[in-house]
Symmetry: C2
Subunit: 330 residues, 2 copies
């Protein structure tokens, strides 16, 4: 447990999160001694009473083969946390571990919702209009048209459940907006989506359209989504670095940057990848949230918020009967 920076970050974020959400309690999986040491830094006994430390002798390493992780799941923190959700001892599982293994273990322990072959990784992205959901972000590199339709359904139902949108606009990520553009899989998916009564399909969207907020839900295969997300993060970071550099380049601009701090704090808040940390593994029967391996305390806190919000809204339970009804018809 713990991601790149270990349990310290997770425990500190969890303590803050439990302060913020007084009705929430937590099971904490990992090395008991290590977790107790981190928790001993907190003096709030009533808060500590809401945290159950569950000792796990092992953990899934980032370099583990999925087969090894599957075999050893009964005594790894990731496997035991997922089992706790499967056994209804917890409402949501959150992990900073290897995404592929989290997905594989999640499918094994929790199963997928009716009609859904494989879950998709879904994150929210900032747009000039607010935010959009985008999926898949890397769980499924090659996708069939049928899979992309499943992702569209999952995304649309999620936007309805979490944002209260009556009819979220769903678009397919493509290299052009004209119907003649794209690969055969994309064109077939567009055809299927345009006949899908549960989805408000609005056509193709190009990469730049994501950030214009042209869609509430953007659907793509995991390869494309992963590259789009990471490229965007890369540009945002480069621009941030350039601003800092430019600001530091003269004493006058350094002085002025003090005055401008509010402006840039505001901007950073709207763009900060930490705010958008916490991706859903959509399509599982329970809430599973993946936090970025490199997340700091604040970012892990946002991922906890994402998990808590989805659990409070019973996300998979809301989706399940709709998918059941749809896929029973066939």
């Amino acid at each position: 447990m713990g991601g790149d920076s270990g349990p310290r970050t997770v425990v500190a974020a969890l303590v803050k999160s439990l302060h913020k959400h007084p009705t929430v309690s937590a099971l904490l999986f990992g090395d008991q001694q290590c977790l107790q040491d981190e928790l001993s830094l907190c003096n709030d006994q009533s808060l500590l009473s809401r945290i159950d430390v569950c000792h796990s002798p092992n953990f899934v390493a980032g370099t583990d083969q999925p087969s090894v992780a599957l075999r050893r799941r009964r005594d790894t923190s990731m496997g035991m946390a997922l089992r706790a959700v499967a056994d209804d001892r917890a409402s949501a599982c959150i992990s900073s571990g290897n995404t592929g293994i989290l997905m594989a273990l999640g499918m094994l322990e929790l199963k997928t919702l009716p009609g859904i072959a494989r879950p998709a990784i879904c994150a929210t992205l900032p747009t000039s209009q607010g935010h959009s959901y985008i999926l898949d972000l890397g769980a499924n590199l090659d996708c069939s048209a049928q899979q992309l339709v499943e992702f569209a359904l999952l995304g649309s139902l999620t936007a309805q459940a979490l944002d209260g949108l009556a009819s979220p606009q769903v678009r397919l990520l493509n290299v052009g907006e004209e119907v003649s553009k794209g690969s055969e899989v994309i064109k077939t998916t567009a055809e299927l989506l345009s006949h899908e009564p549960l989805i408000n399909y609005a056509g193709f969207v190009e990469g730049d359209g994501i950030f214009k907020g042209l869609a509430d839900v953007v659907v793509c295969d995991g390869f494309t989504g992963n590259v789009a997300l990471k490229s965007s993060e890369g540009v945002a970071r480069m621009i941030g670095d350039m601003i800092r550099e430019s600001m530091g380049s003269s004493w006058l601009s350094r002085l002025l940057s003090l005055f401008m701090a509010g402006t840039f704090r505001d901007l950073r808040c709207r763009l900060d990848p930490a705010v958008y940390n916490g991706a859903y593994l959509l399509g599982l029967t329970r809430v599973v949230v993946k936090s970025h391996g490199g997340a700091d305390e604040q970012a892990f806190g946002y991922a906890l918020d994402v998990a808590i919000e989805a659990a409070k809204r019973n996300l998979p339970e809301v989706l399940s009967p709709i998918l059941q009804a749809k896929y029973q018809q066939h």
Copy 2:
């Protein structure tokens, strides 16, 4: 001819470019009357004598079917401009027209270099280290491993020829850096590239790595490249808009932004998509450059610079014997 804003932009940019490059002359294809009208705004007779207006009765519309454009190529501005390059009446062709049709007509009129099945669209992107070449950006949506190897070769030889790099680092765009990551095509390509003596293959790069400048040349299929490029442009534009908004939100920040103008001008120059306008159609036997359809005068000027530079360095002629030698061995 002329892109979204018509011949006015192109003619104005061309006149400026000929001022800047006194040894360059131009053939201008389009409606003669219309072009003459635009040129009449220029009073410099000696400069005007370096521009030959070539009347073309038709043009390729953005919505034309490739088959129609191919049939009518003898009397469209795009077809006639490519023919002029094929006939050695010009050293480079630059167009703002439909990319797919420019590619199809280019292959027909100019043919591809030895061993190259299809050309790729290649652009330079700003990175924190300077710039990188990325290809393909949309000409080939599905690519075989062999095609990706061809793109890697084209990109590497181009970086050598244009930037004087002895051994450019070439990386494959992927969803992770570990060798186990990616689709079958990506893994096969990596295997082929690691045994290719003409290429300094440095492994995988993720989307955010592009902008860290981890590679001199980034190779990907046209679907992924197009989405990565446009997503990045979208984020950069959104951030620019947010900065402008934040700046305008109080009288104090507005006043300060006047003082900061230099800083932001500097930043804009380093990020301006216009500076990076002008993509090569790499793999053709002559220089063909695609300018963005929505390019303004300044951006079209940059695309002219790109074409002039590539023509001066005889880009395809430099690549041709190397590819010939390589592919004759097989």
